[in-house]
């Protein structure tokens, strides 16, 4: 049983999987390392017994979550991420177990910017961040050229639709 929503069509870069794998690996390794150091400390300095137990549990959780977020999650995210930008709306969809559709009218867009971390630079990718008065949304891993173009496009569309001064005058 699926919801009748016209799905957005644009996909994000295939390289997103690699980027996420690398960054998640680094993040989880760092966390597991810290926990390992703490475990050694408990042994050496004879901290309370329950601290050790908590640390082992935490470590277990992190190992499980790293398996998920390094091996499984990136493929699914990349597979399911869809977006569409037209004159009136920004449309986003992602997730497999938990599917999420978001719809933002252009006139509510306050700013748009691109950002790039060191790993993304290697693959020439950008995150596109769209901010509204309500919140901000990130469309991840878009190839450089496309990201730049989209940024310009959204800026233009959002500007055209900026009618805040007469906001809602139609139904007042």
């Amino acid at each position: 049983m699926y919801i009748h929503i016209e799905e957005p069509t644009e996909t994000i870069s295939k390289d997103a999987v690699k980027v996420w794998r690398i960054s998640n690996t680094i993040g989880h390794l760092a966390a597991i390392l810290i926990i390992a150091v703490l475990v050694v400390c408990t042994e050496m300095f004879g901290w309370y017994g329950w601290i050790g137990i908590v640390l082992y549990i935490l470590g277990g959780i992190f190992v499980l979550s790293s398996i998920f977020s390094i091996l499984i999650e990136p493929t699914y995210l990349q597979n399911t991420w869809r977006y569409r930008i037209d004159q009136q709306f920004v449309q986003m969809k992602h997730g497999k177990w938990q599917v999420q559709h978001t719809l933002i009218p252009m006139e509510k867009v306050e700013y748009v910017r691109t950002e790039q971390g060191p790993i993304m630079r290697r693959y020439g990718l950008y995150n596109l961040e769209i901010g509204t008065t309500a919140s901000n949304h990130i469309i991840p891993a878009i190839p450089a050229e496309e990201a730049k173009q989209l940024k310009g496009q959204i800026a233009v569309y959002a500007k055209i639709q900026d009618e805040d001064a007469v906001e809602g005058a139609s139904d007042a």
Binding site: Y2, I3, I5, H101, L103, P105, A134, S135, G168
Partner: protein
């Protein structure tokens, strides 16, 4: 138009001084009266610090009055602030959403008032306050505001001298309000505070014991005392309510809604109709029993706090049908539908199927720390189930035309009505489990302070899709 830089009225100094006295009187009493004979170092230091701070405050109030000023230049208001660090802020007149003026006792002595203009943005520069100005000056600012609006919106239709009054609170309303707000119960904390304060000075415990013995023998006096106390508390409650909700007037013209209230401390609030983001109808259990409702107008102005919310609400103790009628006249686009659809029963099963994190946490915690209290987890479990059932029972949803209306909440029941244009963004979510049940979660946000997010769990697939497309078509 330029009418020159203006300073606030000289009574600014008096108003600020009174508010300073009000806030410092506690310190003064403590340092100089209660601890009057004390020679402890910290008390003496405290006195010096208090004196220095007082002198500095008074001095800075005068400086503030001298340096702070404002002017209206063209289509914007410019405010100059700061004694050492100069600050200049300006706002375009058409960016102002609501205005509030508050006339305290001190203002009234001098025949003055205050005015706060609220813009739709957040942060410390969101409001512009004119703390002490004359009534004419207020009118002048408001007039230039309207001019600004008119020039920008180019609405030349008959300007607004024809305000209609929709509601004026009567004595009957006040009596109802003072009972519904339970303000008469305020006597008990008051009495106990007096008792404990007096007990320090006199040996009240001993006398009280004797008195109690006496009263127990003469039991009829107990009854008389009780009735007397109740009468006093009802009286106090009534006075308190009258101070707050007396002279409540709701009126409107073609563009704005005006809410005025208060005896002694007089507040008036006005908002442009097209700035209303949503309407919320709130009913506590007590209000539901009495058929009352409080209606709030959600706006993007600076209403972060509880007080602000109160300002923008229509009379909070109005009979429901009366409130609806007024709302219908003032904001015909916000039609509230009484008959709403509850979700199908399968949503309840779905809600009950979700993991019980709190119960699990309670079980784990109690297992580790207090095994003999494990039964508490059962209570937590029971309460969770009860709250889920209530949540299901009271959640309903309806969409007609451009309007969305949702209702939520068990003990305090909240109905939220908004329009398609007012919704900032929507999200449709569905988890694996929800898909098995053919339902989804609907989330939409409205501009307000803080942001108003409405989440609806358990909307049918069909409606979720329709809702999405309805918003998409715009």
């Amino acid at each position: 138009m330029t009418e020159g830089v203006k300073r606030y009225h000289a009574a600014f100094i008096a108003v600020e001084l009174v508010s300073f006295l009000k806030s410092s009187i506690g310190f003064f009493l403590f340092l100089f009266i209660l601890k009057g004979s004390s020679t402890a170092t910290w008390v003496i230091w405290g006195r010096y610090i208090f004196l220095i701070a007082s002198v500095w405050t008074i001095f800075s109030i005068i400086l503030k009055w001298y340096f702070h000023c404002y002017e209206i230049v063209g289509d914007s208001i410019v405010v100059h602030e700061g004694v050492v660090v100069k600050k200049q802020r300006s706002v375009a007149l058409d960016r102002i959403h609501n205005q509030v003026s508050n006339t305290t006792f001190v203002h009234r002595w001098f025949g003055l008032t205050s005015l706060t203009l609220e813009t739709g943005t957040s942060g410390e520069n969101a409001t512009f306050t004119f703390p002490v100005i004359t009534e004419e000056e207020r009118q002048r600012i408001l007039l230039s505001l309207e001019r600004g609006e008119a020039s920008i919106e180019a609405v030349a239709k008959g300007k607004s001298s024809n305000t209609t009054i929709h509601f004026r609170s009567t004595k009957k309303d006040l009596v109802r309000a003072s009972f519904t707000s339970l303000s008469f119960l305020a006597i008990f904390p008051l009495l106990s505070a007096i008792y404990f304060n007096l007990a320090d000075f006199f040996q009240i415990e001993e006398t009280a014991e004797n008195a109690l013995d006496y009263l127990l023998i003469h039991w009829w006096m107990l009854i008389v005392l009780f009735v007397l106390a109740l009468a006093i508390s009802v009286g106090i409650g009534f006075i308190k309510t009258s101070m707050k909700y007396g002279n409540y007037v709701i009126s409107d013209d073609s563009e704005r809604i005006y809410i005025e209230k208060g005896i002694g401390n007089f507040t008036s609030f006005s908002i442009q109709k097209h700035r209303v983001q949503a309407v919320i109808v709130e009913q506590t259990i007590l209000k539901r029993l009495l058929g009352l409702a409080s209606i709030k107008l959600l706006s993007a102005g600076a209403f972060g706090d509880e007080k602000g919310q109160e300002k923008s609400s229509l009379y909070p103790f109005m009979p429901k049908h009366e409130a609806y009628r007024i709302l219908q006249i003032m904001l015909p686009h916000y039609h509230i539908e009484e008959k709403m659809n509850r979700f199908p029963i399968k949503v309840l099963w779905l809600k009950l199927l979700q993991p019980y994190y709190l119960t699990i946490l309670a079980i784990i915690g109690l297992m580790i720390f207090k095994r003999e209290w494990l039964w508490v987890a059962a209570i937590v479990f029971g309460l969770t189930i009860l709250s889920r059932i209530l949540d299901y029972w009271f959640t309903s949803y309806i969409r007609h035309g451009k309007t969305v209306q949702i209702r939520k909440g068990g003990f305090t029941n909240e109905t939220f009505v908004t329009h398609r244009e007012r919704i900032q963004q929507i999200t449709v979510k569905h988890s694996w489990l929800q898909r098995k049940f053919g339902v989804a979660t609907l989330t939409f946000t409205n501009k307000a302070k803080p942001l108003h997010e409405s989440e609806l769990y358990g909307v049918s697939n069909k409606e979720a899709g329709t809702f999405y497309n309805w918003y998409h078509k715009k």
